[in-house]
């Protein structure tokens, strides 16, 4: 299949809250199957950018495209609702604080959206939930409630929940930042597994080692701009920009 357009494309993204400019004209593309890490100091706009991709934080100006369709298309309210819901079904998202539904079991967390949106039959949804939970190693906790799980387990369920919609693209918003250090690895392993299956992923992270070992490309953001981007071995080992160098130096010192 020949592609004339990039899989994910962000064109001149701008976002401001009043006078505060959080994103200043960001453009980038991600190819199908690519795994991209976005790093940068807090307040650099990396989470805002990620949340703009599924229009959770709408851009002030600029466009987001996924697989030939514009995600943040300007439409009348009702049409926009239908459009964005369809787009979001194709974009999985994993949050720092998991955001599992506490009143539902693990199984119900995973099957709710497929059943409600009727993307598949109820029976298929149950089978799919079991498959996805097995995939992230959480099948034996299928009838537990989120409150009965550890942070790492919650995040694995949250990933299974997102995968149950069969997304084309997965967004990770600091998926391991809220976890105890000993629980980070189990979530990283699941993400690595997804990477091996060629899921397209955009990962906002503070974990440089993980980014270096999994990602095809690293984007360093600061103050609402992309300062530097490239393969991890270049960005991490030989950053050309001073801001990148400073950030990495501080980060490595902090890690020691």
């Amino acid at each position: 299949m020949t592609q004339t357009h990039p899989f994910v494309e962000i064109r001149h993204a701008q976002k401001s809250y009043g006078k505060l400019e959080v994103l200043k004209d960001i453009s980038l593309t991600v190819e199908r199957g690519q795994i991209v890490a976005i790093i940068g100091p807090s307040g650099s706009g990396k989470s805002t950018l990620l949340r703009a991709i599924n229009d959770l934080d709408p851009l002030t100006a600029g466009e987001v495209w996924l697989d030939g369709l514009q995600v943040n298309k300007a439409l009348p309210h009702r049409q926009y609702e239908n459009h964005i819901n369809e787009m979001r079904q194709q974009i999985g998202m994993v949050f720092q604080h998991f955001n599992l539904f506490p009143h539902l079991t693990v199984r119900e967390n995973v099957t709710m959206a497929p059943k409600l949106l009727k993307t598949i039959s109820d029976k298929e949804a149950d089978t799919l939930a079991e498959e996805q939970l097995d995939h992230v190693g959480m099948l034996e906790r299928i009838d537990y409630y989120p409150s009965q799980l550890s942070g790492g387990q919650k995040q694995r369920v949250a990933i299974a929940r997102a995968l149950a919609m069969k997304p084309k693209l997965m967004l990770f918003d600091e998926a391991t930042s809220a976890l105890d250090p000993e629980l980070v690895e189990e979530v990283n392993l699941v993400m690595k597994k997804l990477a091996e299956e060629h899921m397209t992923m955009i990962i906002v992270t503070h974990e440089m080692d993980f980014a270096a070992s999994v990602c095809d490309r690293v984007i360093f953001m600061d103050k609402g701009l992309v300062v530097e981007e490239g393969p991890p071995e270049l960005v991490f080992k030989n950053p050309t920009q001073e801001r990148t160098q400073n950030f990495l130096r501080k980060h490595l010192e902090g890690a020691k």
Binding site: E81, N85, N99, F101, A162
Partner: protein, 215 residues
């Protein structure tokens, strides 16, 4: 204290207490409906509907319930609203408590973590679906207790309709004072009966709250 007198009149007070219970139930039901509508209005995407919701709340919370009752019962006929005292009492007090319940429900909905709705929306659920399936079930649990507080206030508030001559507990006590000249006994008896109604209701609310937490 004239215990003999109390024993003689208490059957009539029990009957009156039933009217108080009836008023409490009807005003609570009406209040819950108004509260649900009011809270929905306050989350509307149309500014005018949000304004109407807010206006309802500030109007009914900003004036005495007694004035609202008088306006409806005595002032109503002037603008073509003819209601018997009982209906006026139910409608007036129901609208009044509904304003408080609007704010209770709104508060519970707001206190559900924002990430819950966001997670539902990112899965592709519509605004309505994510509200119904994710936010509301969690808000319901949070609102049981504070709604119980509203209902408690409402039961005591039914005493106000004695002022428009609905024969409930407080009105009955006043009537018997007129014939017995024993205000202490009569108000004491009425007070005890209010306490019984409120204690039972409180236990019911606590039970519902416990059950919701266990789920």
């Amino acid at each position: 204290m004239d215990v003999e007198l109390i024993l003689k009149v208490y059957p009539y007070f029990l009957k009156a207490a039933l009217v108080t219970v009836e008023l409490s139930v009807l005003t609570t039901v009406l209040g819950l409906i108004c509260g649900a509508l009011g809270a929905t209005a306050r989350f509307s995407r149309f500014a005018i509907v949000r304004f109407l919701g807010a206006a309802y709340v500030s109007l009914f919370r900003g004036t005495p319930a007694l004035i609202q009752l008088f306006l409806l019962y005595f002032g109503g006929p002037q603008i073509g609203i003819q209601l018997d005292a009982f209906s006026a009492g139910v409608i007036g007090l129901g609208l009044n408590i509904g304003a408080y319940m609007t704010e209770t429900m709104r508060g519970a909905i707001i206190s559900v973590d924002e990430g819950q709705g966001e997670a539902a929306r990112t899965l592709g659920l519509s605004r309505a679906q994510s509200f119904r399936k994710v936010v509301l079930p969690q808000a319901m649990r949070l609102m049981i207790r504070p709604l119980g507080v509203n209902i408690n206030a409402q039961i005591k508030g039914t005493a106000l309709v004695s002022a428009i001559s609905v024969v409930e507990l407080t009105y009955t006590a006043q009537r018997y004072i007129g014939s017995t000249y024993k205000p202490f006994e009569m108000f004491f008896l009425a007070g005890i009966l209010y306490l019984v109604i409120i204690t039972i209701t409180g236990k019911g609310v606590a039970y519902l709250d416990r059950r919701a937490r266990l789920q």
